[in-house]
């Protein structure tokens, strides 16, 4: 993303007609992060060598890289296995149908252990669902709170009470409630998924709710007066004035929420043994082989990278829908 940032600055410099300075800033925006990264790798390498744990030496960049490649190999190996499994199953079923046309072929899913990349996918899917549920609730409630002072006064104590609650405190309750209420013979989603998603939702609600309420209540008074003079109907007032005016603040809230949701999810998966990256980390920790720490480190870096990408996606979405093109978003 620093690339796009540098691109913007270079256009700015280009307009000012200063190619020398432009080149310098481009180099700076590209090189400085690289310098930082290299320094970090060097320090990591040095420190890692001097830490000996019961699982062997703390992994340096080299070991982590090796494990990254191993995880990719394991993933493709597992994929091949799965493909072979489905192929065999199909052949078997075809043969039995040929023998006996009344036979209804059974299709069984492949039950191999999920690989690192399967876990990434599970986590991403879960956090997105949890985040969406939270947003669908938080944005309307936030708008109501922003429009009506009485609603805000009524809801504010609840917000303040629940906002600081750690997700891990919710987790046992959510687990039990989901087990009790989500009963079905053929569930569409697994219970662990529902538990994780709801825990994420509970923690994603607050930043969006608060920022939406602040955004809505801070709409310029003159714009509200324009709406009054035009006698806009409440719904038109909402769609034409309130929503567009508060979009920047709503998105600030959404971005914060998604960041929190991602952190919460990993913790929830570790604690509740729900499939996902958190479980991967915990399993590796329990496994305790000499590669475990390096594999955990791969997961840590992946979690960070995905969090970063999610935030940047939200940011570009915000840039796209926000009318305030002059505001500097970071």
């Amino acid at each position: 993303m620093s690339k796009s940032a540098s691109f913007v600055t270079s256009i700015g410099q280009f307009k000012q007609g200063n190619p020398g300075k432009m080149l310098l800033t481009t180099l700076q925006t590209l090189l400085l992060p690289l310098v930082g990264l290299l320094l970090f790798l060097a320090v990591w390498n040095g420190v890692a060598k001097s830490i000996d744990t019961s699982l062997g030496q703390f992994p340096g960049p080299a070991q982590v890289w090796t494990q990254t490649l191993t995880l990719i190999d394991e993933h493709s190996a597992q994929r091949e296995k799965a493909e072979a499994f489905y192929e065999r199953q199909e052949q078997r079923n075809a043969a039995r149908v040929a023998q006996d046309p009344t036979y209804e072929p059974k299709v069984r899913p492949f039950t191999g252990a999920p690989t690192f990349f399967d876990q990434i996918w599970t986590s991403l899917y879960t956090v997105m669902i949890g985040f969406l549920i939270a947003s669908v609730i938080a944005v309307p409630v936030g708008i109501v709170c922003g429009l009506s002072k009485s609603a805000y006064t009524a809801i504010n104590p609840l917000i303040q009470l629940f906002k600081p609650v750690s997700p891990l405190a919710w987790l046992p309750l959510v687990t039990m409630v989901v087990s009790a209420l989500y009963v079905s013979d053929d569930p569409m989603f697994s219970k662990s998924f529902v538990t994780s998603a709801f825990t994420v939702s509970l923690c994603c609600l607050w930043p969006t709710l608060i920022n939406t309420a602040v955004g809505v209540s801070n709409i310029e008074k003159d714009l509200v007066n324009v709406s009054r003079v035009l006698r806009l109907k409440p719904l038109t007032h909402l769609t034409k004035i309130v929503l567009p005016a508060s979009i920047p603040m709503i998105f600030t809230g959404l971005r914060l929420s998604l960041g929190i949701g991602w952190m919460v999810l990993i913790a929830a998966e570790m604690l509740a043994q729900n499939p996902g990256l958190g479980k991967f980390v915990w399993d590796e920790f329990q496994n305790g082989s000499s590669e475990s720490l390096a594999r955990i480190m791969v997961a840590v870096l992946t979690i960070g990278a995905i969090g970063f990408v999610l935030d940047r996606l939200m940011l570009s979405l915000q840039r796209k829908v926000s009318w305030d093109k002059n505001s500097v978003l970071r």
Binding site: E220, D222, L223, N225, V226, R228, V229, L230, R231, L232, T236, K240, I241, P244, A245, I247, W323, D324, K325, N326
Partner: protein, 282 residues
């Protein structure tokens, strides 16, 4: 045409403050005829904007009331369009859509083509058709104010209310917009109430200048009839003795009769209440 078009009778307003109600306006009486151009002038904080907001329906008078064409003003409405001081265009809509919002709201049942034509007609009045596709952030302050005027005109208001419409503009742009406003007023003949700080602007544009006393409990001090033939030319008027006489009258009212003592050092007890009330009344 009867003389009664817009009438303010014994209008007063109290604002609640922690120290009890604060009387911003008291006994404001004003009769305005159809097509008249009225300026409200007075020191800042004297409640000019409050008068305008009461006529607009954005504020409710505590006592007295406003009657427009035999109907009491109780709420805001497009027949009393407001041009706000800082243009108040919706920043996420382009110039065309800003005006279109007002047109769609007030000209119900019109076809798409008619709406488009009416929007463009009003942009034409303020010479802004060339920037129809631009966002408010992409045009200058004077242009934004033009669009604000176009939006108000597009509502086909009985009364056009302008709250220091040119206050935030530089002198040249302001003169330009004043000329445009005079043309539009000559064409359309709307009733206009305009708040201003600018004595020249008031004399140049108005049929009558309503001069307000200082608050608290501000009211109409004097009303000056400006009997200059229209169309008025600012250059020709600069040497006109009649014009200068009117200017002098307004200046005398503002700087002798309603002298506002702005304390430099310590406030004296006498004008303490007057200055502290400024923010409430404005």
């Amino acid at each position: 045409m009867t003389a009664k078009h817009l009438e303010l009778t014994q209008v007063g307003i109290d604002f609640p403050t922690p120290k009890g109600p604060f009387t911003a306006l008291k006994d404001v009486n004003l009769k305005i005829q159809k097509g008249e151009f009225i300026s409200l002038i007075g020191h800042s904080g004297c409640g000019k904007s409050t008068v305008l907001n009461i006529v607009a329906g954005l504020h409710q008078a505590t006592s007295g009331g406003v009657i427009l064409d035999n109907a009491e003003v109780k709420e805001p409405g497009p027949e009393r369009a407001v041009v706000f001081q800082n243009h108040s265009l919706l920043p996420w809509l382009n110039v065309y859509k800003n005006v279109e919002l007002a047109v769609k709201q007030t000209q119900r049942g019109k076809s798409k083509a008619q709406i488009r034509q009416w929007v463009m007609h009003n942009l034409e009045l303020v010479h802004m058709t060339h920037a129809a596709d631009k966002l408010p952030s992409e045009i200058s302050g004077g242009m934004k104010q033009r669009v604000g005027i176009a939006r108000a005109l597009a509502m086909e208001p009985k009364v056009l209310l302008m709250d220091e419409p040119f206050g935030a503009l530089d002198a040249l742009t302001r003169a330009h917009l004043q000329d445009s406003l005079m043309e539009i007023h000559a064409d359309l003949g709307n009733t206009v109430i305009m708040i201003t700080h600018d004595v020249d602007e008031a004399v140049l544009l108005s049929d009558r200048i309503v001069m307000m006393t200082n608050g608290p409990a501000a009211t109409v001090g004097e009303i000056l009839d400006v009997d200059l033939p229209r169309p008025r030319e600012r250059l020709a008027l600069a040497d006109n003795p009649q014009y200068n006489h009117y200017r002098h009258e307004v200046l005398t009212f503002l700087y002798e009769k309603q002298k506002k003592i702005e304390p430099v050092g310590r406030r004296t007890t006498q004008n303490k209440s007057a200055s502290s009330s400024k923010s409430d009344a404005a």
